[in-house]
Subunit: 323 residues, 2 copies
């Protein structure tokens, strides 16, 4: 039989090995944690490749810094040795390029964990890599790439993980979650990955977009009564859309997200940082995909669509100005 | 009988006299046109008072420049000699201060023309000045105050005018419209002032707000497919709200407004200029008043409320930063 990662004994020699594709705020953080916990971890980087080769990876965190030097880093996933798990931690704006690039690893037996924002991202990867075992992971984390090969973890970090197409927690999802937990990461396994994705959107849809359009940190948005009301209205809209799509969750989650954000340090969302750096915004995965899914179920995400259009305007202007 | 301005013979001596309260982009433009046409016109100014006294009023326009030097200008409406018509061309953000200040003029027989944006502005003035004859006028104009005592008219300029509380065109509304028409201004008299106000909001609600939130000119908004779709959705929402409030108009007006804006020169809205100058935004009159009127009639202006909240956030931040 083909050895499944989750069939392995728990001994050190059998620890799952990982390839982290995209060594940014997310991939850099979790990859550093897994490496620090003793896993074989290979990173794939683009912009920071030379820096990582020369200087290694530096991750600062209130729960413990990690310095990986030297670090195993590659410019192309095709060069990475076979691993148990490939983590796709690239931006969704790159489309399926990363999924296409990891095809050799998948053919050699790697499972794929899609560690991205938005809805439908696992479907995209599964479509490009038919037959692959695809998991989805969501990161509730405040983490930024503050310089080449330099990640700063500010707060939080919980990962929720589930297997695409499954209706229960699979051994592999449980295994990866256990690896992360052993590395000091708070984790939760999901019966229903899609519901988990909607729950994550409750935070991303208001804060990613409003932080860009209003040029504001999460703290500023929460402190202003008008902005806070808009945040809450967007959250309720996401919850209603999820319910319309058959992925209802307790609306108490909305107030949990507000409470969590109140307790956060001031934080610039990844979309705000992307916008400031002139990078494309993850509008399709975070806005268009859920809005279309809801519309197909007869629910009109009016506020989400409004914010999406504002983001599209700003995104297009960035591209025009850079051209 | 008390001489009504509209009862006067058409001879030069009997021309209506005007006091223009607020010598900015709007008051400066129409006041200059009326003065140039031979009317006795007194201006009330605040920031530009000294400049206007020293240098007069300069109004540049593709349809003819006007230079008024000397110009009759006052710092306080109480000093203005009795006139037939007082035009309130101040910002709605100043509330009823200007209405209170013109009480002596009203008590001496002046009618009041409220030349402001928004909904319900005549009600406010009528409440402060009980018994006054109150008219409302809306200006479809691209005009900016480009410096002290210096107005630049870019394009358009039509005035629609109607009497508050009337259900037909009154002689006074017709008379003021005739004065403006004789001064070279395109005019239209309104049977129903409130419907006229809603029709004007079809333009103001999308363009004032989006130009601020997206830091964009009208041309940029119209050229971008996503922003244009949002503009149109807001316009439709205003039309539906008007209908819910019993002030329905032909929805063809929406497409007329789009066509008109397509044909405009690139234009920074007054709200955008206010925002750039750190002045308060006319959110109550242009957003909150129509949204509340619609809500009272059972219609939820979701997009308008969303944009209003974004503007409130930005407006509050401006005040915080200046404090």
């Amino acid at each position: 039989m083909t050895p499944e990662p989750d069939d392995r004994p728990a001994g050190d020699d059998a620890r799952r090995s990982y390839a982290i594709v995209g060594t940014g705020a997310i991939g850099g953080y979790y990859g550093a944690r897994l490496a620090d916990a003793g896993h074989e971890v290979h990173f794939v980087a683009r912009a920071d490749l030379d820096h990582l080769r020369r200087e290694g990876l530096r991750m600062e965190s209130p729960t413990g810094d990690v310095s990986l030097r030297p670090v195993s880093v590659f410019g192309d996933p095709a060069e990475v040795p076979p691993v148990d798990v490939v983590v796709l931690a690239t931006k969704t704006t790159e489309g399926v390029a990363a999924a296409n690039q990891v095809r050799p690893l998948v053919e050699s037996g790697s499972a794929v964990v899609v560690m991205q924002n938005g809805l439908g991202v696992e479907e995209e990867v599964a479509r490009v890599l038919p037959g692959a075992t695809v998991l989805g992971a969501m990161c509730f984390i405040c983490s930024n790439r503050v310089g080449p090969g330099h990640i700063r973890h500010l707060d939080y970090g919980k990962v929720t993980i589930g297997e695409h197409g499954a209706d229960a927690v699979t051994p592999l999802a449980a295994g990866v979650a256990a690896d992360l937990a052993a590395a000091g990461v708070s984790t939760e396994t999901l019966d229903d990955l899609v519901t988990g994705r909607w729950r994550k959107l409750v935070w991303n849809i208001p804060f990613n977009g409003l932080s860009v359009v209003l040029d504001a940190g999460t703290d500023e948005l929460m402190a202003d009564p008008a902005a806070r009301a808009v945040v809450r209205a967007l959250m309720i809209e996401v919850a209603e859309a999820a319910a319309a799509c058959g992925h209802a969750f307790d609306v108490a989650h909305v107030d949990d997200m507000l409470t969590t954000t109140d307790a956060m340090q001031p934080y610039a969302t990844s979309m705000k940082l992307d916008h400031e750096a002139g990078r494309p915004l993850e509008i399709d995965a975070i806005y268009a995909a859920p809005r279309r899914a809801a519309a197909a179920s007869g629910y009109d995400m009016v506020r989400t669509g409004f914010l999406e259009a504002q983001l599209r305007f700003l995104d297009a202007r960035t591209r025009t100005r850079r051209a």
